[in-house]
Amino acid sequence: MDLISYLRENAGTVLLYGEQHLLVVFFAIALGSTISIGFALLVTPGEAAPQRWSLDWILGAIRDGALLVTAAALTVPSLALLVLLLPLFGLGAATTVTALTIYSLYSVLRNSVAGLSSVDAGVLESAKGLGMGRLRRLIRVQLPLAWPVILNGIRVATLIDVAIAAVAALVRGPGLGQLVLTGLSRYGAANAFNQVLVGTLGCLVVAAVFEIFYAIVERLTVPRGIRV
């Protein structure tokens, strides 16, 4: 059977897998981004020249430590991490989402820290001088100005997760990985190659859908005054 007729016959299944893939990545990214951005907000100094050097030093150490740990996590082979998580979360979606969340942390965290701390010193100083407290400076000034950089981190994390989500089929994770895995296990049989091919192309489509989504989000959320 050629690819087209395979698709036509299995459209429902393929779409279901695609949808699962999309959702599992979406949840993981939402969770990972919330954790990373929240953490970055906590450890970012609210001013250009902090007055208490000891506090600044401690925050810096925590920041660097967190970046190191999340970067290290990214180098753990996905297969190994999935298997390591199995005793905790069992087969299926929970393990998958957890693993994908872990893989998304580094990119979002790194960009959040970079974006939040790259806000112009003069802007921060005048914010403080006008009587904005630390929280207000973070939420009203630093976060919106860092947002384009943070959003880019989320994009990269999404691409990583779309790819890794396919591997999660090995622990019965939902998504297009199921197609690839089935195809592999029946290699040589009828339609086995089509399954692998559709699974792979499906990941591309899912990535493209995310890209379109982020383009819209960017349009809607990046303040007009700093849009390039």
Binding site: Q51, G122, V123, L124, S126, L130, G131, G225, I226
Partner: protein, 371 residues
């Protein structure tokens, strides 16, 4: 002089509106890890509604002194009183909302429109939306940016000078009694800076704020300041006085050297043309010989050319200077036109008098003797 340096606290028997607005008493700041103080034992009293310029070479503690007033930096020792109240006794953020703050980098929020930038402090203070809108337009008018055109622009769509004017409007938004300005015009080209200076003084005439203004430019300090505090290395105040006194009576060698050899010329800035007795002018070609300079004017009374200036052979080139200017401007115009006389014109460009070189030198001699 009865200024309050000698009496920083403002004694209780003085009526409150004559108490200084800002008082620094023995204020020092030593940054952590530094052996020498950045600011050492500074006493300063700033009268209500006046402009004090903090001037001195870079690194001598001007910015540090200014930032201690709104607690962006905490002093190591000493007291700072704002309107009689110790600033360390108030919540820092609340304190800062009552003090306008303008810096060289301007620091407008790039993601806010001009209007939103100006509205920041009123919003924090919980003003009604309508009142904030009104205030934004009022302030844009005040700093010479038509609200209709500028309110909804973003900072990146403004020139440096326009940005700085928005910075000033933002600092003025909640009508704070005190303004702190740290080299606000430092990054602006000389021509625009001149215009901003004039506008700044004009605004000050209407708003009457108590202003501390940091600069490293003595010229700027003389032009804008009611009083000048000259900072010396090590964060000490070498002299605190009026521009006039700083230029004519430097208190020590440091000030003398800082003021430099151009003091006499600089002092000309301080003499407004409107305070001089100008030569009367005769107009039109009909005028015959007499003691007055004769000038040819056009239909609306604007000078066209000198016909005759007593004591000068031939008719010198015409130079004009506005009556609102200083003697410095008049001399500058004379030198520029290679002419020993200048016509002084009013706001509509009509000639109101003449200033001759000889008369000017005579007048300055008189003033020198009376000082």
């Amino acid at each position: 002089m009865s200024r309050a340096t000698t009496n920083p606290g403002g004694s209780a028997d003085r009526p409150p509106d004559q108490q200084p607005m800002i008082v620094l008493e023995g204020v020092s700041k030593t940054y952590p890890g530094h052996l020498t103080p950045a600011v050492a034992e500074v006493d300063l009293a700033v009268a209500r509604g006046s402009i004090v310029m903090l001037v001195g070479p870079s690194g001598c503690g001007k910015t540090t002194t200014l930032k201690m007033m709104n607690r962006l930096i905490e002093p190591t020792t000493g007291r700072i009183l704002l309107d009689g109240e110790d600033v360390t006794k108030v919540n820092a953020d609340q304190l800062r909302r009552r003090i306008g703050y303008v810096i060289q980098q301007v620091g407008l929020f790039p993601h806010f429109t001009v209007g939103q930038n100006i509205g920041v402090v009123p919003r924090m203070l919980g003003w009604e939306r309508r009142r904030i809108r009104q205030r934004i337009d009022e302030l844009l008018e005040l700093v010479g940016l038509p609200p209709g055109e500028f309110r909804d622009r973003y900072p990146r769509q403004l020139s440096g000078g326009q940005q700085q004017r928005v910075g000033v409007a933002r600092a003025l938004a909640a009508d704070p009694p005190v303004m702190l300005m740290d080299e606000p015009f430092g990054a602006i080209d000389p021509i625009t800076r001149e215009r901003l200076h004039d506008q700044f003084l004009e605004i000050q005439r209407t708003v009457r704020k108590t202003i501390c203004f940091v600069t490293h430019d003595l010229q700027e300090a003389i032009k804008l300041g009611d009083h000048i505090a000259i900072f010396a290395a090590g964060g000490r105040i070498a002299q605190y006085d009026t521009p006039e006194m700083i230029l004519s009576r430097p208190a020590n060698d440091f000030v003398r050297e800082f003021v430099g050899s151009g003091a006499a010329v600089r002092r000309l800035h301080l003499i407004a043309l409107s305070t001089l007795a100008l030569d009367k002018i005769a107009t039109g070609s009909s005028a015959t010989a007499g003691a007055h300079p004769v000038i040819e004017v056009d239909g609306s009374g604007r000078p066209v050319a000198w016909i005759r200036v007593p004591g000068v052979d031939g008719s010198p080139a015409l130079a004009t200077v506005p009556l609102s200017g200083s003697v410095y401007d008049a001399v500058d115009a004379m030198l520029d036109a290679h002419s020993s006389a200048v016509a002084v014109v009013d706001g509509d460009g009509r000639a109101v008098g003449a200033l001759r070189w000889e008369a000017l030198v005579g007048e300055l001699q008189m003033r020198g003797r009376h000082r």
